[in-house]
Symmetry: C2
Subunit: 158 residues, 2 copies
């Protein structure tokens, strides 16, 4: 990817509100919506209820996939919509974890209205560490992005 | 669900442009974006390239999941966004299939710009038959929808 594609991927990830989270549910793929935030190192932060199926799925099987898609009005046709699919590993981030304060702060910076949910006993933070990504910048413009390339491009601003 | 929720689910499905498609990829969940259309009976129509990973995944393992999410500006907060997760079975719909003409017409009615892709040898129509759905109408308002209930509510207009 060139610097322009790197920048566009950063903007897509930093400005989008929700992702589609695919988990393995009893051996089958299952997809649901999750609001997310990013840690500075590019890990995804989500805040989910233990009562939700996707949370139980992540506890039983840690590999997941996330899709972040630009708003439909960004492109003339759906196949030109910028989007990124992420393969990653999910892990719970309990209050005693070293990353918890940073994850909570990152999440609440994006979703201040979620603060009251932190008082609910069934909600937990999870971190999703990207293993590989596939970024589609537009029609026919797809890039494979390694975890190392992703971490490097996330360190830039703008 | 009441008539108002039925109507809102119909509108969500009929007016949204793209879905997140989760497939089983080498035993792991993988999610990608697909434009879609609906047949009158509620089956999803997608048009995908055999060169794409999700297409190979569907050929190898037919159970998939789709997520259709309302645009983020529909709700004040992401957790209130209307969305529906569908568990379904995917099958290729070749030109000689009885459903092909209807599927092609439904798809092109929604995505007229895709017509040229029908001339590409690697693109095929797939149908996804819903087995069950989970509709979230807003924060804390979730409904389990059976295939039978779904077919019935799709028969209504408006």
């Amino acid at each position: 990817m060139d610097a322009e594609a790197d920048r566009a991927l950063r903007q897509l990830l930093r400005h989008t509100t929700v992702a589609a989270l695919a988990t393995l549910h009893q051996g089958e793929p299952a997809v649901s919506m999750v609001p997310y935030a990013l840690l500075p190192d590019g890990r995804f932060v989500i805040h989910v209820s233990r009562l939700a199926t996707h949370t139980q799925d992540m506890l039983a099987h840690t590999q997941v996939s996330l899709l972040v898609t630009a708003p439909v009005d960004v492109a003339d046709t759906p196949l030109a919509l910028p989007r990124v699919s992420v393969q990653g590993l999910a892990s719970v981030c309990p209050p005693e974890a070293a990353d918890h304060a940073a994850a909570r702060a990152a999440y609440l910076a994006r979703r201040p209205e979620a603060e009251e949910l932190f008082g609910f006993g069934d909600f937990s933070l999870f971190l999703i560490t990207p293993l590989s990504l596939r970024y589609v910048a537009g029609f026919g413009r797809a890039y494979a992005v390694t975890a190392g390339q992703y971490a490097a491009l996330l360190r830039e601003t703008g």
